[in-house]
């Protein structure tokens, strides 16, 4: 539990809210302010849950399996599985305005698109870190 980083869970909450905002632009079915607010709160809540599960599950992973491809694979796998499950369960439970799976799929597509985009940025950060390390070493060579 001590490895869990609360800051990451909070970031996940805000990513959820961002997804909610994008969904508001996609789906015009949320007419009232209350509906819109509830959507943002739900998507934020989902983000929080996903963040919590991700932090919890990954805190028990052994360091011995730490490799870039494992990191990105696990990251995307968790995002894919947890997001899909929560989206499907919430849609089934709330029985909201989207009635058919044909309506649901684009929404899941948007959600996963944003999640994968966030992972893409993470991948770029990985390359950036290697470049910064290279620059740091070169600076020391010059000294």
């Amino acid at each position: 539990m001590e490895k869990i980083h609360l800051k990451n869970i909070v970031k996940s909450f805000f990513l959820g809210i961002f997804i909610g905002i994008v969904l508001l632009f996609y789906d015009n079915g949320f007419d009232t302010t209350t509906d819109k607010f509830l959507l943002l709160l739900t998507s934020g809540g989902m983000g929080f849950i996903i963040g919590f599960i991700t932090e919890g599950v990954t805190s028990i992973l052994p360091i011995s399996i730490a490799k870039p491809r494992n990191y990105f694979f696990i990251n995307n796998l968790i995002a894919l599985v947890v997001t899909s499950v929560i989206m499907l369960v919430s849609i089934m439970l709330t029985n909201n305005k989207m009635e058919s799976y044909r309506d649901i799929m684009p929404v899941i597509g948007i959600v996963l698109g944003i999640v994968f985009l966030a992972n893409g940025i993470d991948y770029m950060m990985y390359y950036r870190a290697q470049n910064k390390l290279k620059i740091f070493k070169e600076l020391f060579k010059d000294k």
Partner: protein, 179 residues
Amino acid sequence: MVQLLCSNKVYEKLKQELSKYQIEIVKDSDLVLVERGYDIPSEKLALVFDAIDYMDVIKILVSGIRKDLYFKKTVTGFSENKFAVIEPKAIIYLEASPDGIMAYTTTHHYSMKETLQYYEGIWIEQGFIRVNKSQMINLLQVKEIIPWFNSRYVLRMNNGAELEVSKMYSKKLRSTLKI
């Protein structure tokens, strides 16, 4: 020699740390360490710090001002009943153990005197950085930085060792490399 202008609590902590490096505390030194909130004396070189960052002041003092004395080019390590002179750049990482600290090079490992905290202070300019409670690494010997979950990193070193950067120290790594 330094003068301290700070609370009693910080004074005691600084006194303890400074004594490790034989830095004397006097009342009329030209160099003053001033805790934020205290008056900065005029016509003296003052280093202002927040109470919580008192260890950073020690690091600056030890790695900068007393550089001539403490910027050791070599250290002595003990391995297989022999003493060896080691250059810091040859050290891949240092690890604290119950018997003292161990220095790992590509081919050997040596036991060394002092503490990790001591080398953290004097080797910061040699590219060394603390990565967790018991290990300190040479950034020049890092082969790859692997991002890991829970704001941690794993560093793959030139000798194949994989060391964890704990979330507490990952911020320091990021700021050092400007990631």
